[in-house]
């Protein structure tokens, strides 16, 4: 069963975006959306539009930067890339996430 949109928490989306940019290098918004859908094997159905406020937020926090460029099909597109502070943030959040999910799993299994 696909995960409905409302269940994608804000922080989770941020984490997904950061991870995507980390492993794929600079990408435009559409690419990021596509990539997240592919990796989650279409289980995560998010409104692609919600990505943009998230990207803006990450940029405002100084974790990613953006720059206009040209896509593989010769189309003007805004490319986002991870900066050092973003990478640090990603490591931290990933670790938090791991700890969190492990904890929740433990709770679920014991009770």
């Amino acid at each position: 069963m696909p995960i409905s949109r409302s269940e994608v928490l804000q922080g989770t989306l941020d984490l997904l975006v950061l991870k995507t940019l980390d492993s794929m290098g600079p990408m435009h918004g559409f690419g990021i959306a596509l990539r997240i859908q592919q990796v989650s094997e279409d289980l995560l159905q998010l409104n692609q539009g919600t990505l943009y406020p998230a990207l803006l937020r990450l940029e405002q926090r100084g974790w990613i930067t953006s720059k206009w460029g040209v896509s593989e099909n010769n189309r003007r597109a805004k490319y986002y890339s991870l900066v050092r502070a973003g990478r640090r943030q990603l490591e931290e959040e990933a670790e938090n996430w791991g700890r969190m999910s492990a904890m929740i799993n433990r709770v679920l299994r014991t009770s």
């Binding site: 435009h28 559409f30 919600t50 406020p53 926090r61 189309r75 805004k78």
Partner: protein, 889 residues
Amino acid sequence: MRELFRMFCRRLVALFGRRRLEDDLDEELRSHLDMAVELNCRKGMSREDARREALKGFGGIEQTKEIYREQRGLPVIETTLQDLRFGFRMLRRSPGFSLLAILCLTLGIGANAAVFSWVEGILFRPYPLVTHQEQLLAITGTARGEAGPTGISWPDILDLQRSCTLVDSFIVTKIMGTTLSIGDRAEVTTGSIVSANYFEAIGVHPILGRGFAAGEDSGRNAHPVTVISYQLWKGRFKGDTQIIGKTQRLNNVVHTIVGVAPEGFYGTFVGWAMQFWVPASMEETFEAGGYKLEDRGARWIESYARLKPGVTPAQAQQEISAVAKRLETDYPTTNRGRGIKLWPLWQTPFNNANTLLPTLEIMFVVVVFVLLIACANVGNLLLVRSFARRHEMTVRLAIGAGRGRLLKQLFTEGLILSAFGAGGGLLVAHWCRHALVLLFPARGGVAMHLPGEIDWRVLALSAGVCVMATLLLGLVPAMQTRKIDLAGALKSDSAGVVGGSGRAWIRSSLVVVQVSLSFVLLVGAGLLLQSLKKIRNTSPGFSTHEVLDTAVNLTAAGYDAQRAQSFQDELLERVKALPGVESAAFGRMTPLSYGSYSSTPIAVDGYRPPPEEQPIVEYNEVGPNYFATMGIPLMSGREFKRADDEKAALVAVVNETMAAKYWRGKNPIGERVQVKGQWMQVVGVAKDSKYESVREAPKPFFYVPLRQNFSRGAGLFIRTRLSPETMAMALAREVHALDGNLAIFEVITLQEQVDRSTSPQQVAVTLVGVLGGLALLLAAIGLYGVMSYAVSQSTRELGLRMALGAGASNLWRLVLSRGLALTAGGVLLGATVAIGLTRLLGNLLYKVSPHDPLAFGSAFVVMTIAALAACFLPAWRATRTDPARALRE
């Protein structure tokens, strides 16, 4: 944390260049969709389907943009800017309303800011240029069995200086006058005798020369140096830059000018501007009563203590009291029963802070009232407009504006109004900051100095008032929007009734509040006025007409006692010889003037004081014919004669109260009283009169002959029908003939002296009267507004009544009764509040009950007249309703 700050900055930056950012966003989203469409096409969809599918995957474009925008900028600020722009446009559209509202608020806020600047400038930071005034406290002596504060002696001050560890410095200052003759102009000038640490301790540095050096305040007449004020330097010395080292005769002693005080420094005495300062070593030259620096019993000093940082007044008081206790045991003859007390600056007992305090307190209450009335008025205006804007509000609600957003809009408009009002108010306060001086007459040719000060505290208060006003103003229409219902609001509603309640209740209750507040002020003004009249009608116990009062300062001119005595004799002979003069006499103290009587512990044969009571009585030193000249009747015995001089037996005249208290109804004539260790024979009993204040209760008092207790500084009293001006010219001639270097003080009638002593009451009456009038005017405008609105909204009803046969008189009655009903409500409420509040006037009231029916009654009459006047025009307009047209509409 840094991250959030960076985020805030970026969002702040994004408030500018919105056009470019918007284009950027458009292009990014377009590129996204294009790519999605292209991908879908490549998957084999038709162009149509590919587009639909892409849009579906994206979600709402406009919604995304909206969320994006909110994330990008700072929505709070953006909407506020929008509201401001819109608010300005709305206010510009009805300039009459805006102007009236801003005017009301300007008056309200201005009155508050002005009064606060006076309080700030006169009570809390009274001395311009003096540093750290919050650490400065006034300090006086106290005496067991005596209510008021006393001075402090120089040796006591030195002991305090040595023993107190919590006090940084004790500053001695004593106000005095001298005759300053520069060139051929002689005039009376005010100065201060100060301790050598004075300028250093208050942090004021002379702009030329120096302050006083340590040690210049010791040694009898050892340091004839002076620091002069900036005004004196600029005015009398023409700004001479070579002034330092030059000499000036002060009280006939040549002083070297060692410094010029900076501009704007007026010394440390609320109400007077000092012109020069001399060190305490020169005390004998300026003070009556001889050399006092080594006399622990001579309590002549007015003083301030500057606490060390972090020390509380209570801690300092504790330490000082301990020192005073020790002085009591060390020097029992002079210090038994004597304490030393600290006072906050605003309660300083020895200058005008003390007299102004109750007046300023009342003014504070009054201006808050005026502000509330102004706010109610503006609220009413806003309300009228909110009716006019119902349509706009309804439309905005209908197309989806949240009520919160509408409220914000309304509050923003209120803020614009009150911000303008606050700006105007500060201007008013700025213009009025020295206005308090206008209410006090200049005395003896020396201008009073009552500085208002507009500093950050005044600004903060005005901002606070502005915010409060905004809330009040926004609240009224806000309550109104709550009631808008979308369906009903489109119906026209000009079918109100004059007496109808309904929506009008807010406006009506605002008017009731206004009326009640101004009623309270009217009652206050009435009470003060009555009490002033009572004070004026109280006989001071001496003739107030046909007696003139002046003084020649012989101390100031450097006369010794012997020369002064012969001068006084000669002048008296010359004055008596003037045509139109009935009699004349000298006396040391002028009744009801600034200054203090001599006082002494007394002993009376056969009177045993209760334990713990040391009978201390005040007395005046007066010359022959004093009682006849002043018009104080003698109950028995005789008055002083020329023969009661230093060679004759010591005598005294006591007043009735003293006779009753110490001789218990026995005739005291021929009995003895001990004054300062010497026995005197009582030769007369004088009727009680007023000595220090018209409002004082009868108290024991006695008189001794001036010759037997000589003082060079004495008032001259002249019984004559001549006017003060004529007398002044004649006197100046006589004095000049005797000594060209002498100047006379102002010549005034004793009535004038009495009036001046009641100036705090007069100022209170003037201020409460003026502000009460203003409040009445505002309330009348409010009532007028409500009534004329009610009439304009009920033309149909009025037309109907007329068509059914109501005559003009019925309509008059209808409108007036409605107006009077509101007024009656206000008066009732106001009377209740007034009964609780007038007790505040206690200090200023004299022989008038705070619940005086006459004051309440006249306030009622005035209010009713104002209400009738306010309703007159609306009622007249009601009678002019054209029934045919009103019914057709």
